[in-house]
């Protein structure tokens, strides 16, 4: 006897399966947060941040580093994306550029760290500094910024470009007045997500920007080395002997909160900007 499965039934089954898969994606995030909060519970207090040797300096350092990374990566990445999406007409050079981008994205982050050490710290003479670290991280996130920006530019419907060109706008005017404003939500979202990832990177800043100090000084110039959360965490977990119990877990929790917070900002920003532009 043939078994007849009603379309309705399969539909329900498929839905349940898909829902389960989606739910599984959420679990690790929640799980990690819960473990960190639980293990770090003893150290998690206002004192953790505000104490003389608390996390305030590493948090500020991380934010400065990330902001500077964004400032360097954004113009470069968006410019490259605009070139690739709006101006290039295929050809060997463009293929080479794309190949480079794909490969850059695949380079392990520790290699960036060594490269940054050689180029920015030594060759350019930035020393182990905020600037050198930001430059290194900018290189790291550049492939991601370019591809998300390019994707955002591609999302702008071609008829809008044609309308602008047909009205006698030059390519550049079209990019500035029609394409970029309409791609902006996507570009900003991509940028925040990219540098959010950079915020948690340890290897690239290991040799270029971070240092560990018990006095927790704030940087005074771009050329000062900085305290940053990932490195702080790295040292706590591996070298520092006299750390209060739970502190490393609480630090990890703060770092993750910052990264998730930035992603949340990206999501909200996208929703709000999208709302004002429809096509």
């Amino acid at each position: 006897m043939m078994r007849v499965v009603s379309a309705h039934k399969t539909e329900k089954l498929a839905f349940a399966g898909l829902w389960l898969c989606a739910a599984i994606v959420i679990l690790p995030v929640l799980g990690i947060m819960m473990v960190l909060a639980w293990r770090g519970a003893s150290a998690l207090s206002w004192n953790l941040i505000a104490a003389p040797q608390g996390l305030l300096a590493p948090i500020v350092g991380t934010i400065l580093l990330v902001a500077l990374t964004g400032l360097i990566a954004a113009p470069l990445g968006v410019a490259a994306a605009v070139y690739l999406s709006e101006y290039s007409r295929g050809g060997a050079l463009v293929r080479l550029i794309r190949l480079a981008i794909v490969n850059l994205a695949g380079v392990p982050s520790v290699v960036y760290g060594l490269f940054g050490l050689a180029l920015f710290v030594v060759l350019f003479g930035f020393g182990r500094s905020l600037l050198a670290g930001a430059c290194t991280l900018a290189l790291l996130v550049l492939p991601l910024v370019i591809s998300t920006s390019e994707e955002a530019l591609r999302q702008v419907p071609a008829p809008l470009r044609h309308a602008s060109l047909a009205l006698g706008a030059s390519q550049w005017q079209t990019v500035c007045r029609v394409v970029l404003p309409n791609a902006l939500p996507g570009i900003i979202t991509g940028l925040i997500l990219s540098i959010g990832r950079a915020a948690g990177e340890t290897a690239p800043i290991l040799f270029t920007a971070a240092f560990y100090s018990l006095t927790h000084p704030f940087p005074h110039s771009l050329l000062d080395p900085i305290l940053v959360l990932p490195y702080q965490l790295f040292v706590m977990a591996t070298e520092a002997p006299d750390v209060a119990p739970g502190t490393e877990w609480a630090t990890a929790f703060v770092l993750l909160a910052i990264v998730l917070g930035m992603n949340l900002v990206a999501v909200i920003l996208r929703a709000r900007l999208r709302g004002s532009r429809r096509w």
């Binding site: 007409r89 295929g90 419907p157 008829p159 809008l160 470009r161 044609h162 309308a163 602008s164 060109l165 047909a166 009205l167 006698g168 706008a169 030059s170 005017q173 007045r177 029609v178 309409n182 532009r277 429809r278 096509w279």
Partner: protein
């Protein structure tokens, strides 16, 4: 130096009397290896509506895009022959494409307003090309919207998003946006194919009004629309201009069998 090509109109291609605005001579066009237009020679009269009809893929839209060099956007598109606007070849090296597109405006198949306010849409062109701001710009916007028969419907919501207008209103907005640049020629690429009949008739009526001041070339796959609005009609088939004549001649008694088959719906 511009080499003038011989001016031999092929069989069944009329040269309209009076002032000629656009003229093509032996215009060939290729997309890569595919030849989309084959030696098209046509004279478009000034301040008239010229319709281009033909089955899908016949080259009529490609031809239209040659007239304001919108084909330049496509990397593998290549053009041979001449396109003369007021007697000057727009494919010559000294042509400023931006300037050309100010003179030859274009309305597209689907309404494509910018996701901005109604006002900003119309002001887009003037802001690019002129120093008009404030009151002067307001006047241009109002004049253009009036000319596009849209003013009364939008005058109280100029700063609302253009995306909130209906399809027909959006298309008239696109026409207003083109008129604001004060072109001499308006190219329309199937401007009503996404619109309902009422909106279509409004646009057709508008075209007839615009004819007083503009030269209009419309590509349409709706030959009844061509017969309703145009004075001259050209029939394209497989990249060739088969026949070009007064519209009534094309629809009452075409000279070429292929035109006859097409307008009678017996194409097969």
């Amino acid at each position: 130096m511009v080499i003038q090509l011989p001016d031999i109109p092929p069989e069944n291609i009329l040269r309209p009397p009076g002032e000629i605005k656009i003229e093509t001579k032996n215009l060939d066009m290729y997309y890569g290896n595919f030849q989309a237009l084959k030696s098209v020679t046509i004279a478009v009269p000034s301040r008239r509506i010229t319709a281009l009809i033909g089955p899908s893929g016949c080259g009529k839209s490609s031809f239209l895009r040659c007239l304001n060099r919108m084909n330049d956007v496509i990397a593998e598109a290549r053009v041979d022959g001449q396109v003369l606007l007021d007697g000057r070849d727009i494919y010559s090296d000294d042509t400023d494409v931006v300037q050309l597109r100010r003179r030859v405006g274009m309305v597209f198949q689907r309404p494509n307003p910018f996701p901005m306010s109604i006002y900003d849409n119309v002001a887009y062109g003037p802001r690019l090309h002129t120093t008009a701001r404030g009151t002067e710009l307001n006047e241009i916007v109002e004049r253009s919207l009036r000319a596009a028969a849209l003013w009364n419907e939008v005058k109280d919501k100029l700063h609302q998003s253009a995306m909130e207008l209906s399809g027909g209103q959006q298309q008239r907005l696109c026409i207003a946006r083109v008129l604001a640049v004060e072109p001499e020629v308006v190219l329309m690429d199937e401007p009503c194919s996404a619109l309902d009949p009422t909106a279509t008739f409004r646009i057709e009526e508008l075209m007839t009004e615009l004819m007083e001041n503009y030269t209009i070339v419309i590509v349409t796959h709706n030959m009844y629309q061509a017969s309703r609005v145009s004075q001259y009609t050209g029939f394209f088939l497989s990249g060739e201009l088969i026949e070009y004549n007064r519209t009534e001649q094309i629809f009452e008694n075409p000279a070429d069998k292929r035109t006859d088959d097409y307008v009678r719906g017996r194409f097969g």
